[in-house]
């Protein structure tokens, strides 16, 4: 039992690594993406829109295969970990872009109007007035997405990333079936997701206390 747990725990760094790296890539890449989505230029809006629609439309596992066996074998060599991180990061950017966009839509138009009337530049309006408020309203959505991303990283095992799922499958095969390894994997994923949910609730409560109407 302990042996089994220790064996599966070897996958923790990869699961954790893919989740955090992909989330960071997505969170950063989603910023220019959402600005394009809100741009005055039709072309920029269209490009961002197409990106979001495509990346959300492809199942993550298909997308990882494309990156790992397609791009990974062609121009550059990518390790399984790199391919999984990049692939899921690009998908995350699409989802997080939409979460940020929801945040912008939740803000009343009057905040932007007040900034314009004060003589703020567009950049200052974004930086000092809109972005801080968008971040605040986006936190719950981002946390929910992070938990779902954590679970989605299991597809990385399909291209050989040595994550919790991969070790659990190996143990199950070695034991000639049996579902204990998967139960253990399930518990591990739950344990990992609890702190995220807790942190998100704390942040949300904190922000609400400050700026509540």
């Amino acid at each position: 039992m302990i042996d089994l747990l220790l064996s599966i725990l070897r996958g923790l760094p990869a699961t954790f690594g893919v989740t955090v790296s992909a989330f960071l890539i997505g969170a950063i890449l989603a910023v220019p993406l959402v600005l394009m989505r809100r741009s005055r230029s039709i072309l920029l809006r269209l490009v961002a829109r197409i990106y979001v629609d495509i990346l959300r439309g492809i199942p993550p596992i298909v997308w990882l295969f494309i990156i790992f066996f397609g791009i990974g074998n062609g121009f550059v060599t990518l390790s399984a970990f790199q391919a999984a991180t990049l692939g899921l990061g690009l998908v995350s950017a699409a989802y997080l872009c939409e979460i940020y966009r929801g945040g912008f839509l939740a803000l009343s138009k009057s905040q932007e109007e007040a900034s314009i009337a004060l003589g703020f530049t567009r950049l200052d309006t974004l930086r000092f007035v809109l972005a801080p408020q968008v971040v605040r309203v986006s936190i719950p959505g981002m946390a929910t997405f992070l938990v779902s991303l954590l679970k989605d990283t299991t597809v990385a095992s399909a291209i050989g990333v040595r994550d919790i799922m991969l070790y659990a499958s190996q143990e199950a095969q070695a034991a000639g079936g049996g579902f204990m390894p998967f139960i253990m994997a399930a518990l591990l994923y739950i344990l990992l997701s609890i702190p995220v949910a807790y942190f998100s609730r704390r942040m949300d409560a904190l922000m609400r206390r400050r700026v509540s109407k």
Partner: protein
Amino acid sequence: MRLTDPDQIVRLKDINVRYSGFHAVKDVDLEIKRGEVIAIVGPSGAGKSTLLRTINMLETPHSGELSVGDFRFDVSKTLTAAELLKLRRATGMVFQSFNLFPHMTVERNISLPQMRVLGRSKAEADARTAQLLERVKLADKAHSYPSRLSGGQQQRIAIARALALDPQVMLFDEPTSALDPELGLEVLAVMRELARDGMTMIVVTHEIAFAAEVADRVIVMANGAIIEQGTPDAVIRNPTSERTRQFFRAILDRQ
């Protein structure tokens, strides 16, 4: 090109604003002198707010000429970002819904625009902020967040925020309409004091008593046009047009 009369600070000439299929402001001409207090009244949908918002180009007119301070713009051409910035620095605006920044303290609400728009240092900006908070009698609220304040207090903060940028003219868009009568009074008191200090003010309002007492000139709008203007006495007590008479009767009968 400068304004011909040095006393003149705002001039609108043949201003037209159209929304899709709706002519909101029709051929409006308006000249305002330095230090003058103008009250714009009229039924809702008359184009009062739209007209006010064209003065700092929050609303883009379809055609016409606009002069504020030393700047003169032909609004049928697209203004550059620099021109718009100049215009907005010359004007201060107070909105019906206050529009303070909810994630900043009162002090930062007033100081940040000074730092970003006028390039004042934090120390200079905060000093000016303290002085203005004193003036609107909210010095003790510097470190509160707007959500902790009453509507009347928020609106006084919003006035201080606009004044901090030393505008040449202040625009008020129904500043007391979102407030219950008592809270409205404290806002009107601040505005009255501002008028006494010689600030040029254009106020869209339903507060006829305030208009009668403080305004130098009352302008009545209906259907996108100015239908009557003059001293409060003349316009409110002896209106010439039937439409104006009907409007004031509706308001005065209520009180």
